[in-house]
Structure formats: C-alpha cells, structure tokens
C-alpha cells in the first residue's frame, strides 16, 4: 500500500511536506486554519493551500500573547507562527470563525510579518439571501486580492477546473468514509484520519490521483469481506481531531470509529459544488446549502443536531464520542443540546475534553472501555 505510506508521511509532518514542495516546485503556499477557507480559489491561482495545526509544539513564545484560557489550537497556531517555521509560506488567510480565531488573526498581523495576509470575514448566519450575496462578494474580493498579492490572474476557466478537482477529491474522501463505514476493518481509524489531514496539505492534483487509487484498492478488498465485525460502531463529534492515537485506543477498547462530525473530517469534504453555477456562487452555495455547518455559524436552531442524529441512524452508530477542545466556546455551547438530542434518539454518548495532548492513554482506555461496555 504505497498510497497510504505517502499519506502517512505527509500527515506526520505536513509543514515539512509543504516546505519541501514549495522549494522543489517554486509553487507558493498559503496557510489557513479553518474549513471555510475557499481553497478552490487559492488552488485556481496556482497556490498551494496548507491547513495548519501546530499541535504538539511546546508553547514558549505564544504565552506572551495569549492567556491560559485560549484553546490549544489557537495557542499552538500562534506558537507555530512566532517560531519562524512558517516563513516559507507566501501568506496567511483567516476566515472568520470564533472569537479566539478572530483575535489570533489580529495578533498574527501585529507580530508576524507576512507578504500576504487576508481575513475573510464570513457572515455568521447562513440562512439569508443577503448573507449568500455577501459571501459571493467576499469571494470576489478575496480573488482580486490574491491576484494583486501574487501578481497572478485567476481565470474563470481555472476556477471551473479547480471546482471539478475539488469535487473529485471530496467525492473520493466520501467514498473512503462510506467504505470504512460498511467495513470498519478495511482501514484503521488513524489511517483515514491521516488521509483527511494530508488532503488539506498535499498538491491537490497528485492527491486526487492518490485518492482514486486508494478508493480502488479498498473497494477491491471490500469485495471479499463479510459482515462479521462485532465491534461497537462509534461516531466522533467535535472540532478538529489531530490526535490519531485516539482511534487506536477506541479500537483497543472494542469500538471502531465509523463516521465523524469533525472539521478535519466530514465537515471538510461533505457537500458537492454545483458546477453548473458560476464558480464563486457555487462555493457560496456549498457553504450555505450543502455542507454541514460548523457551530461558529448559524443556519437553523437544530441543523447540527439533526445532522448528527441522521449520521447516527445512517451509519448505525452504537454510540457517539464528543471530542471537545477545552476552551472552545462554539462547540461547548452546542454540546448539551447535541447530547440531549442523542439521548432522545436513544444514542448513548460520552464527552472527552482534550487540551493540546490527550488525557493519559491508560485513563482514556478505561473510560472508552467502560463506555463500549455500556453499549451492551
């Protein structure tokens, strides 16, 4: 399985990959932190979009800028920027997400020199015509700004090709997820996690081919597999998961992650782009109508709960594990409501609060075992 080896390497050190790639090809790269980044436009400009995580870094410099009550994503993201490791990037783009990311952008702008620095102040509500129109205008302004900042032209044709490519990538990721949901043994949770993480970093054309191979390979292997997996079917829900170890611990405890509701999961790839629309409208349409909303955005009072409940039914989940980052307001606000909804649907759930690192493996193992056992 060469494809998976390549992917693992990228997922282990995405920054190293991006740095090498830009050095070797001369392609410039743009860093970002949120799944509402219009990667399609960046790609169409001939620039590599690179999602940054930064977890696992020792916090040395960021403490001088951020209080202890900011989430570890924001803290490590700042550490990454201040450490100089991102100097190879051609710039940064910050879509408006939560209060903490909003301030992170300010602090970045004040402290880290970047040639190109852009905020995309997306609307927080996605259920009005004026918001849709505003997104289209923002995307047009962003495109113009990329053209100016990088002295490139982003043609309509290039945008259209980019949209087709992104549909392909997202289709493949969806196909992999569905295969895994049918046959959880096909590939480990950690591997699929790496596939999604690497997808946000790798050269997208090469990636699409790699993913196509992977889908082919796994489909072929799925042919002979029966339905003999006795493990409990688990859905992970939360913000980002950059702890591949968590999958192994759940598996050891007798569960298997079959689906997720994560920014670094289905929220990244669900929702197709309608290529019959003008490109920027198609991107806006996906944000507003087809992808699952993130808790920092509003579409309706229940859409996240509806979508989680639907996932649980469709993927025959035995339980849901909420993996929430400490100090993450948007997710923490949704949790009681989501849990209550799952309770009503008869889907048991548990909450794991994580910081920069997971709770000790032994402790986590005990909790997962207890949870899996309780699923009967």
């Amino acid at each position: 399985m060469n494809a998976i080896e390549d992917i693992r390497r990228v997922a282990r050190d995405p920054i190293e990959y991006a740095r090498r790639y830009t050095n070797e090809t001369g392609v410039r790269a743009l860093g970002y932190f949120c799944s509402y980044t219009p990667e399609e436009i960046i790609h169409a400009a001939g620039i590599l979009p690179v999602r940054l995580f930064g977890f696992g870094k020792k916090i040395v410099r960021a403490d001088a800028h951020l209080q202890s009550y900011s989430c570890s994503l924001v803290r490590s993201a700042l550490e990454l920027g201040l450490s100089g490791e991102l100097d190879f990037l051609g710039g940064m783009v910050f879509p408006h997400t939560c209060d903490s990311i909003q301030r992170l952008s300010d602090i970045y702008r004040m402290n880290i020199p970047f040639g190109f620095f852009e905020d995309i102040v997306l609307p927080v509500k996605l259920n009005s015509e004026s918001a849709r129109e505003y997104i289209v205008n923002l995307l047009a302004a962003f495109t113009a700004s990329i053209e100016r900042g990088f002295s490139v032209t982003v043609s309509d044709e290039a945008l259209r090709r980019s949209l087709v490519l992104y549909n392909e990538i997202r289709d493949h990721l969806g196909a992999l997820y569905r295969l895994r949901s049918r046959h959880p043994r096909l590939c480990s949770g950690a591997d699929l996690h790496d596939v999604v993480s690497a997808s946000m970093v790798m050269d997208r054309t090469g990636l699409a081919a790699l993913l196509a191979d992977l889908v082919g390979e796994l489909s072929a292997r799925a042919e002979g597999l029966g339905d003999d997996d006795a493990r409990k079917r688990i859905i992970l829900s939360g913000g980002i998961c950059s702890h591949p170890d968590v999958y192994g611990i759940i598996e050891d405890a007798g569960g298997a992650v079959v689906w997720d509701d994560l920014c670094t999961g289905t929220r990244y790839f669900e929702g197709a782009l309608d290529t019959t629309r003008p490109p920027l409208e198609a991107i806006a349409h996906r944000y507003v109508d087809t992808r699952v909303t993130c808790p920092a955005k509003h579409r309706s009072l229940t859409d996240r709960a509806d979508s989680l409940a639907a996932m649980a039914t469709e993927h025959r989940a035995d339980g849901v594990v909420f993996l929430l980052l400490k100090f993450c307001d948007p997710h923490a606000f949704d949790y009681p409501h989501l849990k209550e909804r799952l309770d009503r649907e008869g889907v048991p759930s548990m909450l794991v609060e994580i910081e920069d690192t997971l709770p000790p493996a032994g402790q986590l193992m005990t909790r997962f075992e207890a949870f899996v056992e309780s699923l009967g």
Binding site: A64, H65, L66, Q67, Y69, S70, V74, H96, C98, D99, S100, Q102, R103, L104, S105, D106, I107, R109, M110, N111, D119, V121, P123, V124, K125, S128, S130, A131, E133, Y134, N137, L138, A141, P295, A296, H298, L301, T302, L324, K326, F327, D329, P330, A332, F333, D334, Y335, P336, H337, K339, E340, E353
Partner: protein, 416 residues
C-alpha cells in the same frame, strides 16, 4: 501603609451621587413593567447589549437585556451558584459567565429578581462576540421563540462596502421580522424621533463620562458601571435623556464645588474590560485607599463611542456603521489606539486590565495592548485575572497584593 483618615459621615454623605436614587427608581419601574408585560399585552424581546434596540422601541416592544440581568446576578453574588447549575446542565465552566448564569436563571427562575420575563422573540447582534449567537440559539430553543441575528462583520483593517451593504440589508430584514412578530407596520416617523432621542442620550452619556477629565474626577469608573444601565437598556426613550441630563448637571455641580469620587485623588487610572461585578465595592475601596481613582474605562464608553457616526436625520442608515464598528468589533491594533487615546484624554497614570476568563474577544490581545501602552506611553499596567460574574475564580488576597505592588510603581513613577 498610609493610614486612612476617618471622614465624618456628613463628608461621606456629601460624596454620594444623589441621582442614584432616581436611577434605581427608573430601573425598578422598568423591570416591573417588563415582568408585567403579559398582563399589559406588550411584547418582550431579549436583546444583546450591543444590539440595535431603537427599532424595538419604535414597535413598543419591551427590550430586556440578559447581560444586564447577569451583571445583577454577579453584583448580588449569585453568580457562582447559577454558573454551577449551568455546569450541571452540561455547559462547560469555561464559557462566558453571563451566558451560564442566564441559561441557568431561565431554567430555575433564579437570580435577584426571580428570573427575567419570558421573551416573545430574541434579537442577537454579534458585534460584541460570537458567544451571544450560541447563547441566544440555546435560549431560542429553550423558550421556543424566533431568533433574529443581526450580523455585523468584524473589522480587522477596514469596514468595506460589501460588509456595509450586507448590514444595511439586514436593517430592513430586521424591520420585516419585527413587523411579522408584532403583527403591524413599522412607523418610520416614530423611528426619526426614537433615533433622535438615542443620539441625544448617547451624547449626554459621553458628556457624563467626560466630566472625569476634571481633576479631581467627580465620579469614577465604578460609578459609570452603575449609571450605564439606562444607556444600555432604554436608549431611544425620553426618560433616558432626562436622566442623563440630571446626572450631567449633578456631575458639573460636583466639579464646581470640588466634590470628588475619591477623597484625595492623586493617581488617575484607566480600567479595561468588563467590571468584576461581585467585587466593585472592594476594588473601588482598595484603590481609593491608595488615593487612586479609576477615572475612565473602555467598557462604559462603548455605548457612546460611535455616537459621532450616528445621524439624527438618517438614523437607520447610520446604524450600519454605528453598530458595526463598536469597540469590541474592531482589531486589537485599533483597540490599542483607543486605549492610548483615553490615557491622554483622561491623564491616566496607570492602566488596570481585567483579564476576563469569560470574555475572549475582550481579553485575548490584552497582552499586546499592554506592551503597546508601555512602549508608547511608558505607563504602568496591571493585569488581573478574574471573571465578571463567577466569583469562584477570584482570589482577593492575591489580587490585593498585586494592587499594592502596582500602586507602589505608580507612586514612584509619579514622584520620580
């Protein structure tokens, strides 16, 4: 340690702000009216503190402010219990304590006034934070009422035309929403009048705050925290204009006869962030014991900071800019510029920054602002970590020691 001279009671009496009684009367009347809305057939809307309230006044809807209510919960030291209750409901301890206490108070009818009157609908403006959107979503589900989100895009560097157009459209969406939930037409003539009153009240409020430019200051930020109530809750009504006219007259009279907030004002300080509601008295006395007066703050001026952008002749249009570019909805760099401006304006000898665990948009970035202040004005800055409502995180002895040390620095700077 200097000894604090024991002043005769008449002196203390002289120093008391007389308008307080009138303010209490207005607020009591207001809450009684709000709680009696069901009987009087009036509608009640819950609205965020930075939200566009004027159209509600036009529609004769009673605006109710959960944030104001949570501040009362904090001031009466009922925050810890209610926050605890919210945590039992599954809300993380790290969430904003305004939200936590409000969510718990709604379920238990807790707090100093036995809970707020239930809303007929909710109006949430995210110009202060993203928290309010999540909080109002939760309340809209709990009360099963409609929610209108007035979305004001954040300004990192500039407020572009596309954002301006988006906000402008929402003003009309907001009015259409109000017409639907209230079942009648919006009165644009009345809007003119309400807009005029709102602008007038904001000007008066700023004038009240400006009286502390005088040395010694006739009032302190702690007084401002209290008198702020009306500009938040009832701007756009006549009573607010009358009240601030009275308060302004009282402050000017105090200036004229040399009555100061702090007996021997020698040091003038600036406060940043929300008050620590359950500790205002203690903080005020602790600083006063050092002859220090907190003469101004970044918080209470947020309700008048944009008044020059508002226009009486076209209030609705000017709301676009007025509501979108308030203090919390702009970049850290811009906030730092405001703070520097206030240091100059009020002649501050030091800055006290409340690093508020509850409020990330207000607090993240304070360390950078602190460095900018030290660099640009060479003024000492004290950072105290606390929470505005949740008294469980406040350490009086620790903070007291830090205040003493800080005042030592301020003192030596001033005499040096």
């Amino acid at each position: 340690m200097e000894t604090i001279e024991k002043k005769p009671d008449s002196e203390k009496e002289r120093r008391k702000i007389k308008s307080v009684a009138r303010m209490k009367e207005i607020m009591t009347g207001y809450y009684i009216e709000a709680k009696g809305a069901r009987q009087s057939g009036k509608k009640v809307a819950w609205i965020t503190s930075g939200g566009p309230v004027e159209p509600l006044i036009v529609m004769d809807v009673i605006p109710v402010y959960p944030e104001n209510h949570s501040a009362m919960i904090g001031a009466t030291k009922m925050g810890g219990d209610l926050c605890n209750r919210a945590e039992e409901m599954g809300y993380s301890r790290d969430l904003c304590s305004y939200a936590r206490s409000d969510i718990a108070a709604a379920v238990t009818n807790g707090g100093p006034i036995g809970g707020l009157p239930a809303p007929d609908f909710l109006v949430c403006c995210n110009n202060i934070c993203g928290t309010v959107m999540k909080w109002y979503e939760a309340q809209a589900r709990f009360f099963n009422v409609p929610l209108f989100i007035f979305d004001t895009p954040f300004t990192h560097t500039e407020f572009p035309d596309i954002a301006r157009n988006y906000v402008r459209k929402q003003i009309f969406e907001y009015i259409a929403f109000l017409e639907t939930v209230c079942g009648r037409k919006f009165d644009y003539d009345r809007m003119m009048e309400v807009g005029r009153l709102s602008v007038e009240a904001q000007r008066l409020w700023q004038a009240v705050l400006d009286t502390t430019m005088h040395r010694p200051a006739p009032m302190s930020a702690f007084d401002a925290f209290f008198h702020l109530g009306l500009i938040v809750t009832l701007r756009g009504t006549q009573v607010v204009v009358e009240y601030y006219t009275q308060l302004l007259a009282e402050m000017r009279a105090r200036v004229a006869s040399g009555i100061s907030a702090v007996p021997n004002e020698r040091y003038r300080l600036l406060w940043d962030n929300l008050p620590v509601w359950y500790k205002t008295k203690w903080l005020s006395e602790t600083f006063a014991a050092h002859d220090a007066c907190l003469v101004a703050d970044t918080y209470t001026s947020a309700w008048s900071g944009q008044v020059e952008k508002l226009r009486e002749d076209d209030f609705l249009e000017s709301m676009v800019e007025g509501y979108s570019t308030i203090y919390l909805n702009v970049s850290v760099a811009e906030m730092a510029r405001s703070v520097l401006g206030m240091i100059d304006k009020y002649g501050a000898d030091g800055v006290v920054m409340h690093s508020n665990r509850s409020c990330k948009p207000y607090s993240l970035g304070q360390y950078d602002i602190q460095r900018i202040i030290q660099k640009e004005r060479d003024v000492p800055v004290l950072m105290i970590e606390a929470d505005m409502v949740d008294e469980r995180v406040f350490s009086e002895s620790q903070i007291g020691t830090r205040i003493d040390a800080f005042m030592e620095v301020v003192r030596s700077r001033k005499s040096g």
